[in-house]
Structure formats: structure tokens, C-alpha cells
Symmetry: C2
Subunit: 150 residues, 2 copies
DNA sequence: TGTATTTAAGACAAAAGAGTCTTAAATATT
DNA sequence: AATATTTAAGACTCTTTTGTCTTAAATACA
């Protein structure tokens, strides 16, 4: 898979938050139920995003998490890098250490192009865009049908 | 990672074979040493490619494996599908079951385009092309420097 | 026939990813 | 102050992937 499961969960939660009024803290419990993701697991993942500065959290009653900046300013790629690291954007597809323009592997060229297209997609897609798109077209964000964009 | 480690090893070995005269059986031991891949692990992987019909094997002294058809007729994508399956080409990037044009996820459109470019790369690249390219430009196929295209 | 060489098959172990659970710390409310 | 709610942190388990090892089967050759 291109992106780890943790990363996908983090992205789904981010889209959930992006669809809400900014500034409002949303509880992880709430999200986990609506998105169909294990609460504890989601907590751990969102802790990473918080540590990375993409989210802010608040403890106690009515606490929760929220995006640390407007959804339009957060790109898909930031979530991916925060959780999966930047291997996807740098690593040689043949997994050879030190593959680069100086000592390329046979797939260096073809893969570079493909990687650029992946990178472009990740860099050009903001949470705001995805959330708006999702809301307008009522697209799916959970496996089970228990999520509403409102 | 886009492609599993097993798949990468399978591909490296396939390129090794593609660089040899066709029809000649090459021992897995030999390949594993020149490519820097564990012998037993490589054996297991190549067994999959053999079972899939992409390679032929021969037991006994001077035995080994060889490509079952000309390297020009084997596309990168065949190796990937044989080892990793076709999830990469079908699966929704948000990992939602049943995501499709009828019930799409927010990333359905953007990801479809990216996936097509990956698919195109995999479908248009033959082992022969990669091996020739590698041989002509003396590109790297192993981590350590113990591989020669000859 | 016997032996060495090679792939086949499958058990086993180690590492990484995914997921669960418990306890601690912070905060709001009563 | 006491209690309920919520994230933080970390131990723990389960699953998948990766990697190792042993034994069996096929083949060539002396």
C-alpha cells in the first residue's frame, strides 16, 4: 500500500476536523465512533499529528483535538510525512541505498516521474478542498455508513 | 512503500536473468550472492514467480531458474502482480471497501489519476528495457558493489 | 549405485505494523 | 474538594512481513 493504515486513519480524522467549524475541539471518542476507527489506536495516531504541530489538543471535559491552522493551509502531504515519514518521496523503488542521479538504479528515471506525480497530488490537495468536495458530493469517509458531513 | 520488499527482490532477480542469455538456467545461490539477497528468502520469492508461470526452474547440478518468455515480453507489472497482488492497482487510497465511481471517497478522483500513472509506468516498462538500460549505463542492481552486468 | 548439486516445501524466528488496555495527568463542573 | 471527562503515555498482544533453517525431491555425473 502506498500509505500506511495509521496514515489513512490520520487523514480521515483530519478530514473530519476540516469539515467542522475551526476552533472547535472535537473529542477523539466521537471521531473514532463516527469514522469506525478504534478509539485507542486513533488517539495514538492523533498524538503524532499533535506532536508534529498539525493539531492542537485540549484535555478535560469538552476537550478534544482541532487543526492547528486553517484546513486550506494543510496539505495532504503534511499528514503523510508526519505519520509515514518522507520515504515515499525519496526512496529508490528498488530499495537501493544511495540511489540518485549520480548512482542510479535501472528504474531511477521512470520511477522519478511517477513519484513526482504522486508528490504533486499530495502537495496540491488541501484538507479544505477534500472536505468541501466530500461535503458537496456527500462522499464516503467511513467504511460503515455512520458518518455524515452535516 | 509502494512495492513490498519481496517484490523488489523478485524484480532485481528478474533483471539479473533478463541480462543473461535466454535459455540458460542461473542458480539462485549465484544470484543471491551477486545481488546481496538472502538465498533462502530469494528462493521462496522465485518459487512464487515460477508458480505464476513467469519463470521456469530446473533441479540438480547446473540447474536454476530462467525467464519463461523473452524479457521483452515480461512487463514490470507482471512481477508486481505475481508477488504483491493487484491491490495497488485497484485499492482505494483511503482503504474504504467498495470505493468506486458509484460510492467514491473524497480522494477517489485525484488518486485515480495518480494510480493510472503508476499503472502506466508498470505496464510500459519491460524487463528487457530495464536490463538493456542497466547494462548500457552500468546502473546499480545491488546494494553492495558485487554485481556486474557483464 | 552413490554422491553432490540444486530447487521445493514448510516449519520456525525476528521485526514491524496494527490494535488493545491500563494508568497518569489535565481540566471543567458540581 | 471531589468527581467526571478527556488526552498522554506506555506496556502489552496480535498479525503480517521478512528472514532463517531443515528436510525432501529431482537431477547430473562419476
Amino acid at each position: 500500500m502506498l500509505i500506511s493504515k495509521s496514515c489513512v486513519y490520520g487523514l480521515r480524522a483530519s478530514l473530519f476536523l476540516a469539515s467542522k467549524k475551526n476552533g472547535e475541539y472535537i473529542s477523539i471518542r466521537d471521531m473514532s465512533e463516527k469514522l469506525g476507527i478504534s478509539f485507542h489506536f486513533l488517539t495514538k495516531i492523533l498524538q503524532q499529528l499533535t506532536a508534529y504541530g498539525l493539531m492542537e489538543s485540549y484535555k478535560g471535559p469538552n476537550g478534544g483535538v482541532r487543526l492547528s491552522k486553517p484546513a486550506g493551509d494543510i496539505k495532504f502531504i503534511e499528514i503523510v510525512v508526519a505519520i509515514d515519514g518522507d520515504d515515499l518521496l525519496n526512496e529508490c523503488v528498488l530499495n537501493l541505498p544511495g540511489c540518485g542521479s549520480d548512482t542510479p538504479c535501472p528504474l531511477h528515471e521512470s520511477w522519478s516521474k511517477t513519484r513526482e506525480s504522486i508528490k504533486a497530488m499530495l502537495e496540491n490537495t488541501s484538507l479544505e478542498y477534500l472536505a468541501k468536495e466530500g461535503k458537496n458530493k456527500n462522499l464516503r469517509l467511513s467504511e460503515v455508513g455512520n458518518f455524515d458531513w452535516e
